[in-house]
Symmetry: C2
Subunit: 277 residues, 2 copies
């Protein structure tokens, strides 16, 4: 039996998707110097499945010699009871705060399966989110520039600075209709906002990136091309940043930001409401 002091098995368990348990567990584990092996077990809806999960956790304890960490959110009482009999440390991701709210508000909670991001909770708002994804896909990378009036945001920037994943995240997570427009040589030569974008400048934002990082990203796709050369990248970035300044387009450097961070910063700058369901 091997035993590494900072190793732990981690289980995310739920009778729904387990996304909340995962999100919170990740954020918490990020604060501890641990080496982990992580397993997600969603839709544990029957006593039989719960028994299987209990065995899995107990096996982990036996083989590693330390208690696994279980982040969980389970509404079904019997399923919960079975899993809590495993040999582990337990972290109920909702329970403590639900109790606090209950006391503060003097209201009884009504736990329901899958109320988070369920299609049944708010069908209209869910359909809006799917429509935002479709709109965003149809307007990726300048494929279509129709219906720009329906866009919530329009992102501008050089090729490979992070526009596409950011637009998709905005649509998927927040129901935002996001268009992205890649600069073409003519736009850069004129140093002006493209005529088709001009009427919508109030909802236009720029993305930029450090030349070094852009070279690396482009190089990965087209090694040793002009497109990926330091000179080309610097030239494009200089021109586009000059345009952003000249046209007074707010812009953001994405070099050290994840899509989550770029997206939330854009929402913050733009004052756009997140549409959650």
């Amino acid at each position: 039996m091997q035993r590494k002091s900072n190793f732990r098995d981690v289980f995310y368990i739920s009778d729904a998707t387990a996304i909340t348990s995962e999100t919170l567990g990740h954020a918490i584990l990020g604060q501890f110097p641990l080496e982990t092996r992580q397993t997600t077990l969603p839709f544990i809806e029957t006593n039989e499945r719960a028994e299987q999960v209990k065995s899995l956790i107990d096996q982990s304890f036996e083989s590693t010699g330390v208690e696994p960490l279980v982040f969980y959110s389970i509404v079904l009482p019997e399923v919960k009871t079975i899993i809590e009999q495993s040999q582990a440390h337990f972290y109920d991701v909702l329970n403590v705060l639900v109790e606090s709210l209950k006391n503060d508000l003097q209201l009884e909670p009504q736990p329901q399966l899958q109320r988070s991001r369920s299609i049944n909770r708010d069908a209209a708002s869910y359909q809006d989110r799917i429509a935002a994804i479709e709109y965003t896909l149809a307007h990726d990378d300048g494929i279509s520039l129709n219906n720009l009036d329906q866009a919530d945001v329009i992102l501008l920037g050089v090729s490979r600075c992070g526009k596409t994943p950011t637009c998709l995240y905005l649509a998927m997570q927040f129901g935002i209709r996001a268009v992205n427009y890649p600069f073409i040589a003519e736009d850069m030569a004129s140093l002006k906002l493209p005529a088709i974008i001009e009427p919508y400048r109030y909802k236009t934002y720029g993305l930029t990136i450090d030349a070094e990082r852009l070279v690396a990203i482009r190089h990965e796709r087209y090694a040793n091309s002009d497109y990926a050369s330091r000179q080309q990248c610097e030239c494009e970035l200089n021109k586009v940043e000059a345009m952003f300044r000249r046209e007074a387009i707010p812009y953001l450097n994405t070099s050290s930001l994840s899509v989550e961070e770029i997206s939330t910063r854009l929402l913050d700058i733009s004052g756009l409401k997140r549409k959650m369901c």
Copy 2:
């Protein structure tokens, strides 16, 4: 001063993206019969911004006459202190569980800004996720059927049964390379798996949907078309479900499931590991 008994202002506040606070706050609020107005305030990184946020919360208390609910996760000590002086009920989304882990593990937490889903935390795994998004986009709706060997999953189903948003969610959230293949008339006539998919049947999954729901979805896009007719939808669904059964392709009915639920169920069926960063 109006006062509705079940109305509350809700604030999600963080010195990072506030996504964790939002996710958890949503899950918790879903259990209470409340009417809410929700505001997310990310990147509160300076004392000045913190004072502004405090004013906003206090204004809400004064105008509504009830304490707003604040879900927050703040690492910067001064920012945290300022915000906690507002007139509100406070729910620190990480703190209680971090304390539990600290005791259970006998390890000191090292709170860091933006450790969740930050590009700096695990650059290689972040790049994998971006690559998965690109792969998935390039393989959406049968655009390309090259490199199927690199796919983690291949989704089959009739047009408009939920394949595209599911694939994008799998890529965005879990770093899964997901291909989707829409059935064409010939595939349905032959009732066989398309030849190009055949070698990859072990990673192929089907989506289906109730005819009534498919009619409604198609109708929204192409009202009164044959494509959206009850007869056409039923015919396609019958053929495709017969093919799934005949070819022993595991499949899922998406009618009452959100993309989050479809995606996590697919991961569960397939045994695929979520790649988080």
